[in-house]
């Protein structure tokens, strides 16, 4: 999510002051995304330049300057809400590469490497889950942020589990070359590009 669209979303509720926008932004993102005042004003100036927000001309620049969204801003926000983010896979996932390299390195147990990463991810998930324990101090926005992070980490662990199982079966079948043999990383036969 861009700061630009977050500010437009806050202004779609009604006119607001710069300082108020910063406070509400942090509140809505569960305070996991702190903003400084400078970022807020720079973004508001650009939005105004692009005709997406208007300000009170009379007031001086500063915390008391009010902003409101324009019709163009409303359209931009509606368009952004419905535009899928770029979820195509990154060209190089570092964890995938580490596991593939471990598979080919003499003297390295790939299952041990997988377990190191699995443990680290579970420990991270424990920290996020702990934030959910206190339901009373937990608003819906924050819960959504925490859940998103837990599902993301969980999907990486599932991949590690699947890789672990696949490598175990391959070792039984004898379809993995013995470590130390000169082998190349498998190359995909064709480039897979997923576009939204």
């Amino acid at each position: 999510m861009s700061v630009r669209h977050a500010l437009l979303a806050l202004l779609s509720e009604g006119p607001k002051y710069g300082l108020q926008l910063r406070e509400e932004f942090e509140e809505r993102t569960g305070e996991v995304w702190p903003l400084n005042v400078g970022q807020v004003y720079t973004t508001l100036q650009r939005l105004e330049r692009d005709g997406l927000v208007e300000s009170d001309d009379a007031a001086d620049d500063g915390p008391q300057k009010g902003f409101r969204i324009t019709a163009g801003g409303e359209m931009e926000l509606a368009h952004w809400l419905r535009t899928p983010p770029d979820l195509s896979s990154p060209p190089r996932d570092e964890l995938v590469i580490k596991v593939m390299v471990a598979l080919r390195m003499p003297g390295v147990d790939v299952h041990e490497v997988i377990q190191v990463h699995r443990r680290y991810l579970v420990e991270l998930m424990q920290q996020w889950t702990r934030l959910k324990e206190d339901e009373a101090g937990f608003d819906v926005g924050f819960a959504l942020v925490v859940d998103a992070e837990l599902f993301r980490l969980d999907s990486v662990i599932r991949w590690l589990d699947a890789a672990d199982g696949r490598l175990k079966r391959a070792a039984v079948d004898g379809s993995i070359a013995a470590a130390g043999e000169p082998t190349r990383l498998p190359k995909p036969k064709r480039k897979v590009v997923v576009r939204p």
């Binding site: 420990e123 837990l150 599902f151 969980d154 589990d161």
Partner: protein, 235 residues
């Protein structure tokens, strides 16, 4: 205080060519008030570990101690009494008796242990109330949703004065909201002093635990560090 302790526990099924080593020298200690998750792929020995910890099966080698008492040195009757009084079980498929209402299911272990029916029912109602199920007390299992059935089975597992709660994939077929509710209840029982072991392949479930132990091919291969403070994530 350590409620459950496994010392060099091994379990072998079958013999000769069909011999399978399901657990291989497992050490595990679970203190009162703590929740331990055991993670591993299917076939890693998780369920065997749980049935042995709950004295539903005997280890081939090693000792299991519940509340400091060595199970193998107890008579069969004493073991059965220990299971009824001290250990609560939660299974993936709930294991509720279809012909009994929710409160009858919950109070059954107490009645089997000789507690008077009225007193057992009162304790059953108290356990259901704690899990927000008072209005479901008179319902039969087939009149309850999956999430409600699992909450009833947790009430049955913690009713009375249980020290140890053992759960096998407790959120099995439940959606994530109900899975979370189940883990909150298990954690709440731990915060009241119960020791709990949850075996699962699901990292989201395991992440509720104070400690996660990783099982692979019947061996404990790793475990998480003590839980750090959550503040380290949000700055």
């Amino acid at each position: 205080m350590t409620v459950l302790e496994l010392r060099k526990v091994s379990k072998v099924y079958g013999d000769g060519a069909t011999e399978v080593l399901a657990l291989d020298g497992v050490d595990l200690a679970v203190a009162a008030g703590s929740l331990v998750a055991v993670m591993g792929a299917s076939g890693s020995g998780k369920s065997t570990l749980l049935t042995i910890a709950g004295s539903l099966e005997q280890p081939t080698e090693g000792d299991v101690l519940v509340g400091g008492a060595v199970l193998s040195k107890m008579s069969r009757n004493d073991q059965a009494r220990m299971r009824r009084r001290s250990i609560g079980y939660v299974f993936q498929d709930y294991n509720l008796l279809a012909g009994l209402t929710a409160v009858e299911n919950v109070s059954l272990p107490l009645e089997l242990d000789g507690v008077a029916a009225r007193k057992a029912r009162a304790a059953g109602m108290a356990a259901l109330e704690e899990l927000g199920l008072t209005d479901r007390a008179g319902h039969y299992p087939d009149q309850l949703s999956g999430g409600e059935r699992q909450r009833v089975s947790i009430a049955r597992a913690v009713v009375g004065d249980r020290q140890l709660l053992l759960a096998d994939e407790p959120s099995g077929a439940l959606d994530s909201a109900n899975g979370e509710a189940v883990m909150r209840l298990v954690l709440a029982a731990c915060r009241r002093g119960v020791a709990a072991v949850v075996v699962t392949h699901d990292a989201q479930l395991a992440s509720w635990a104070d400690r996660v132990v990783f099982l692979r091919d019947g061996r404990v291969v790793d475990q998480t560090a003590p839980r750090p403070e959550p503040e380290s994530l949000v700055r």
